[in-house]
């Protein structure tokens, strides 16, 4: 997966988004097995329209069932259908969240404390802050929580507090 290409497409269309999930943890803390990019997008019509343009430029595909898997439509309103979409793109798997469990309705707040970051080739993105990553994990059912990730995040937050 070319993660740079995914960020570049989102940036080109001026999508308001935050990198969340395993890739965010991997880039900022420790190597972790992850095979998709998770982004949380501001849930408003203008941003969803921009997101749809970015998805189309990435040759994204999605379907209500696997049998109906096809390129995403021109009209962005399909993104209103549910809270999360797992799509395929020409560059890899992308999960799009209109809201995030544990952080419901708090996009603006999380966006303000997000960490400005760049990839190795200089592509800019905003990353969900550690405290918010931890909140996400704590909101998951115990069987789905990533305990190692939580431990590392708690240690990082403690170090930041001690400084």
């Amino acid at each position: 997966m070319n993660v740079d290409a995914i960020f570049q497409a989102l940036n080109r269309e001026q999508v308001d988004y935050l990198l969340i999930g395993g890739m965010n943890f991997l880039l900022r803390h420790q190597p972790e097995l992850t095979f998709d990019v998770d982004v949380w997008v501001r849930d408003d019509p203008v941003n969803l329209e921009r997101l749809n343009r970015a998805l189309r430029s990435l040759d994204a595909q999605w379907g209500p069932t696997e049998a109906e898997w096809k390129p995403v439509p021109d009209d962005w309103h399909w993104l209103r259908g549910q809270a999360v979409f797992c799509v395929t793109t020409a560059h890899g798997a992308l999960d799009v969240f209109r809201d995030v469990r544990g952080l419901e309705g708090r996009y603006d707040e999380c966006s303000q404390r997000a960490v400005p970051s760049t990839t190795g080739t200089g592509v800019k993105f905003m990353a969900l802050a550690d405290q918010d990553m931890l909140t996400c994990q704590e909101a998951l059912p115990p069987s789905d929580r990533k305990l190692k990730r939580m431990e590392v995040l708690r240690a990082a937050l403690q170090r930041a507090k001690d400084r």
Binding site: V3, G63, G120
Partner: protein, 63 residues
């Protein structure tokens, strides 16, 4: 369908729809991209350096 069920169903659907050859290629590319983008002290294919806390990070190296 609650939130967790929806997420699982979305992942299941995508896995079912993914072209296996393309999926495998994307996984390999992801590993390569991630390795190149890790902070230098965490990269596994080069000599370790000290991290921001001054501690050596313990990562299995197969050595």
């Amino acid at each position: 369908m609650n939130w967790d069920e929806l997420k699982r169903e979305e992942e299941r659907k995508r896995d079912a729809a993914y072209d296996p050859a393309q999926r495998w290629l994307h996984i390999q590319q992801t590993i390569t991209w991630a390795e190149a983008n890790l902070p230098t002290h965490l990269r596994r294919n080069r000599p370790r350096t000290r991290g921001p806390t001054g501690q050596t990070i313990s990562i299995p190296t197969g050595q």
